[in-house]
């Protein structure tokens, strides 16, 4: 099928069957990370730094090791030396070396015969620290005189200033990004209104409900196995191998069911510790399950940001120029998603001149990990807030202004590439036409609009498909099913082969069973594994056509695959009844052996997804508390394979964005310790905080996918931050430029406005 021949009528694609793993997941049978156990298994516990920044002077584990049942203790001394680059960062984050870099940084780990005993032993491990000055805020970290966190970790983009040597980490800036196009000066000169504002967002956590958990087993020979909840087990394998100095192929990693990830389970944390403990304990398997406090203190939250944005607009709403300078800290390691934030910031708009500047800054916080459209929500908060403020200033409708400037197919994007077929205009039009956009509002209520963008991702993909003896089909994929991807891949496979959905079983298989797969990240599972499954199915179908041709004694070119059977291509090919998949499968042992299909690639044709959200809020003017009254997500899915799970992604993204906008934040004390490492005080939205979340699935098919799929997972978290800020501005007359917009901040803004 040529790329431009995307069909619009399907038997299965677009239907809503029960997900294949549903029964296991409603009965408690599905096995998640902490549900695995093995004979002879030990339990691990991790000793963590209570200090934000401290030199480790001495670690004494003798009291712990003296306890009966304690089998091994590991420290950094048990890991290989000489790693460089990101491998070194990963090792350093897994287990502190000379210096603990954040509150919660692992400094030692212990394995014992029970979980309680391991925890008791961990408390007996004595660590002597020399406390160093620390900094946790991005703007503070960048100031002259701020404590230098890891001198020497800046890359070539941060040249040393006069009098500095390259190993000095000036003001903790480790990466500097600059790009843009057009004549900024000229652009701002053409504007009728130029506004510049500063925005801040606090760090948030993915907040998956399942804490990290793994069972690791490794012998002295460096051969090992791991069972782990992860978005990507090949990543776990590669990273563990690098950190432990073993060969990747010697480690076999099996993913469990995964209790949420949102980007936070695409890297390693305590997994190498389980393997190191196992190796030291004579190869007995070691289970490590994080507590919630460990998850919040010592996994990978997102960055915090400080952002300046300047935009020029004419009286009719045309954008003439824009400038963004973003500063982000992603913990004590390079890697804040400031690049992604800048690429996405102006992506929805055609602007003649843009300047982007970014700084990746170190601070004494845990190493950030990906979180759903990493960086994009922060940039959108700044840009979409400012555009809204300017619409208000000029008396323009926010959707009209966005439509006027919206990017379309063939436009060069703000970050470089030219857009293919995209659906931003369609989402804006659908939002404007939706009844939510015209519901009358009462006192203290306001409506906000914002658009958002995410590139989406292809990534290394390997899929295998095999026909069983009875004609049913198994598909082996390497992307863990985090939100229904088994169902969507089964639908596409069944559609391609023309067989019932129920005849396809999709298995998420271990690292030993396929070539390298990137994680379920970048909104890629349904796109990439789906596309590969379709290709594998086509390959198998071709083979089945060959088998039929052979039996019929005609040319294989004269056989086509249709509706689950091989058929003569036309009247001239000969008169044979269709040969079904079951018939071919039942005889495959005598017609040439097993029939399967494979596909390995880094799929191109990724289609970006745009979305537009409309939110109504009510703000209590006496307490500053915001209630979400109505919420609408409109997003381009390309093609919704299983619409229920597309809606689910939209709703889940919106809910996380609402939490980020209103109440979620990492609160650090003056001592550099995380103040709120429990769900009681890290306030994710609860059921009673939210209304039903209305969705509109816009379908502008992606020509780069056999069924038109675009990734849908990430875009949805991007618009809520600015949409809610825009709604609060209407409801209160006060503009909030610092997230979260929690009641004390909103009340203070209302009071400041009332004072004039």
């Amino acid at each position: 099928m040529a790329k431009d021949e995307i069909r619009t009528e399907y038997k299965l694609v677009g239907t809503r069957p029960n997900r294949p793993d549903g029964l296991d997941k409603v009965t408690g049978r599905a096995r998640y990370g902490a549900d695995f156990s093995l004979p002879g298994m030990l339990f691990g516990a991790v000793v963590r730094s209570p200090h934000a920044h401290a030199r480790i002077k001495r670690i004494d584990a003798s009291k712990a090791l003296a306890l009966d049942g304690v089998k091994a203790v590991v420290t950094r001394a048990d890991f290989p030396t000489g790693l460089t680059g990101e491998d070194w960062n990963l090792q350093e984050n897994t287990m502190a070396g000379d210096v603990a870099l954040y509150d919660g940084h692992a400094v030692a780990a212990v394995a014992a015969t029970s979980a309680l005993l391991a925890q008791d032993a961990a408390r007996l491990i004595e660590v002597e620290y020399e406390i160093l000055p620390h900094v946790t805020d991005v703007d503070e970290a960048i100031k002259p005189g701020a404590p230098a966190i890891r001198p020497g970790s800046a890359d070539h983009s941060v040249p040393p200033h006069e009098g500095e040597t390259p190993d000095m980490c000036r003001h903790n800036v480790v990466r500097n990004i600059e790009f843009g196009h057009g004549d900024i000066k000229d652009g701002f000169a053409k504007a009728d209104l130029v506004m510049e504002r500063t925005y801040k967002t606090e760090a948030t956590h993915q907040g998956y409900i399942e804490p990290h958990a793994c069972v690791g087993q490794m012998g002295e020979d460096g051969k090992g196995e791991m069972w782990v909840c992860t978005q990507g087990h090949w990543f776990i394998r590669r990273m563990c191998a690098a950190v432990l100095g073993i060969e990747a192929a010697q480690l076999r990693v099996t993913p469990s069911e995964i209790g949420g990830g949102f980007g936070g389970k695409t890297t390693i944390f305590m997994e190498p510790l389980a393997l190191a403990l196992s190796r030291k304990a004579g190869g007995r398997p070691v289970k490590i399950v994080m507590s919630r406090a460990e998850v919040l203190r010592a996994t990978g939250p997102t960055a915090s940001s400080s952002m300046d944005v300047k935009i020029g607009m004419t009286k009719d709403g045309t954008l003439t120029a824009a400038r963004a300078e973003f500063r982000m800290q992603g913990g004590a390691f390079p890697g804040a998603p400031v690049d992604m934030a800048l690429y996405c910031a102006f992506a929805p708009y055609k602007i003649p001149a843009i300047e982007h500047i970014g700084y990746d800054v170190l601070a004494n916080r845990p190493k950030c990990a990906a979180y759903r459209a990493p960086g994009a929500p922060m940039g959108a908060f700044a840009v979409e807030s400012l555009i809204d403020e300017m619409c208000g200033e000029l008396g323009l409708d926010p959707i009209e202004v966005r439509l006027k400037n919206a990017v379309k197919e063939g436009d060069k994007s703000s970050y470089g590439p030219t857009f293919g077929k995209i659906g931003l205009v369609e989402t804006l039009e659908a939002a404007r036409a939706h009844p939510n956009y015209s519901v009358p509002l009462g006192p203290n209520q306001g409506r906000g609009v914002a658009s958002g963008f995410w590139f989406n991702h292809g990534g290394e993909t390997s899929v295998s498909l095999a026909i069983s003896e009875d004609g049913t089909v198994q598909v082996s994929v390497g992307t863990p099913d985090i939100g229904g991807s088994r169902a969507s891949i089964a639908l596409m496979t069944a559609e391609t082969l023309g067989i019932p959905y129920e005849d396809v079983r999709v298995n998420v298989v271990e690292t030993g069973a396929l070539g390298v797969n990137e994680p379920t990240h970048g909104s890629r599972a349904t796109f990439a594994s789906g596309k590969a499954a379709v290709e594998a199915a086509r390959q198998a179908a071709r083979e089945m056509c060959r088998r039929a041709a052979k039996e019929w004694g005609i040319d294989e070119e004269a056989v086509v695959w249709e509706d689950g059977a091989a058929r003569p291509a036309g009247p001239n090919a000969g008169k044979f009844p269709p040969m079904t998949i079951a018939e071919i499968a039942s005889r495959m042992g005598s017609t040439g052996g097993p029939i399967s299909g494979h596909h390995e690639s880094v799929p191109g044709g990724v289609g970006a997804s745009f979305g537009t959200h409309v939110v109504d809020v009510e703000v209590d003017p006496e307490t500053g508390r915001t209630t979400i009254l109505r919420y609408l997500v409109v997003q381009d899915a390309g093609r919704a394979i299983h619409p229920s799970y597309v809606e689910g992604q939209y709703q889940g993204g919106a809910a996380q964005g609402i939490g980020w906008a209103l109440n979620e934040e990492y609160v650090y004390g003056d001592d550099g310790r995380l103040q709120n490492p429990v769900f009681l005080d890290y306030r994710v939205p609860v059921a009673s905080d939210l209304p039903m979340i209305d969705t509109v699935i816009v379908e502008v098919p992606n020509p780069g996918h056999p069924y038109g799929v675009r990734g849908v997972g990430e875009t949805g978290i991007t618009p809520p931050l600015p949409a809610i800020a825009n709604a609060i501005a209407v409801a209160t007359g006060a503009r909030l430029r610092h997230l979260p917009m929690n009641p004390p901040r909103v009340l203070a803004a209302i009071q400041a406005k009332d004072r004039g």
Binding site: Q119, R123, S291, A293, E622, T623, G624, R625, L662, N663, V667, Q675, N676, F679, L680, D681, R683, P685, V686, S688, D689, N742, P743, P744, L747, A748
Partner: protein, 288 residues
């Protein structure tokens, strides 16, 4: 850790008094288990007092007040029609503690003995003029609720003493109470500010009032000036403004992860007004 299940308060007291180490009494466990889990405390003796006969009972006292057993859960309290009719403010305070799951376990006494200034059930009890019965090595005594908290995480209970019941006074005629708290979400948070108002009316005029505030001082506090602001009034706008002002003035909060001092001070006044309106309506409703 040793786990004990005494069958009388006297036995419980004897175990606690005789322990050389750290002791904790276990009723609902919703605070003790969290503290154990966090490694904040590992008791040498954990004394489960739920097996003592009568601790799950709610009974009317001879003077028409109520006696509430120390192991009555929030859910059981809320399901008790008579108590909910008499002291809706006390009941709604307890019902705000935690989730449905927490309600299945958490108790008034535990909420009190945890010593949190933000305890949701305590302002209502203080405003109501509740008392507690205490059993100790030297026998039993009864004190006003507000005398129990001594500061964050601390109580005035002596070594070996255990609360054996919560006692509410008779509601009497034309009375009403209410408790409101402010939290950023709709559920599951610790109060940023809490306020309970208990009052009595004669016709439209307030004749008695008690106002208690939570999370604005090291302990839950009574705010007599705030009560004074509405006694003798018909809760008109001027009285409400005076109440708000007095409540804010009584607040001496700190800034922490849950809210700023300025915010808490302001919201103490807002909640006082809102709680007073509800209590007033309830008191008037009781007239009918």
């Amino acid at each position: 850790m040793r786990y004990h299940t005494p069958s009388t308060f006297e036995d419980a007291v004897a175990i606690a008094a005789g322990s050389g180490g750290v002791t904790r009494f276990l009723a609902g466990g919703t605070d003790v288990l969290v503290q154990m889990r966090a490694g904040m405390v590992t008791p040498d003796d954990l004394i489960d007092i739920k097996r003592i006969p009568g601790v799950r009972d709610i009974s009317q006292t001879a003077d028409s007040g109520w006696r509430i057993g120390i192991a009555v859960s929030g859910a059981e309290l809320g399901e008790h029609a008579g108590l909910s009719r008499d002291w809706p403010g006390v009941v709604e305070g307890m019902e705000l503690v935690g989730s449905t799951q927490i309600q299945g376990r958490a108790t008034l006494t535990g909420n009190l003995c945890n010593g949190s200034p933000a305890a949701d059930s305590v302002p209502g009890l203080v405003a109501a003029g509740a008392r507690v019965a205490i059993t100790g090595p030297e026998g039993t005594r009864e004190v006003a609720i507000e005398e129990i908290p001594a500061g964050p995480g601390r109580t005035t209970l002596k070594h070996g003493e255990v609360i054996s019941a919560v006692i509410l006074p008779a509601r009497g005629k034309n009375g009403g109470d209410a408790y409101l708290r402010f939290i950023p979400r709709t559920e599951m948070d610790i109060a940023v500010v809490g306020c309970a108002v208990n009052l009595r009316v004669d016709g439209d005029t307030i004749t008695e009032a008690r106002v208690a505030l939570g999370a604005v001082a090291p302990t839950v506090i009574l705010a007599p000036e705030a009560a004074k602001a509405i006694i003798g009034t018909k809760l008109d706008e001027a009285a409400l403004e005076a109440l708000a002002k007095a409540a804010s003035a009584a607040a001496t909060p700190i800034t922490d992860k849950r809210g700023t001092a300025e915010f808490r001070t302001h919201v103490a006044g807002v909640l006082a007004k809102r709680a007073a309106r509800i209590a007033y309506a309830r008191a008037k409703g009781a007239e009918k």
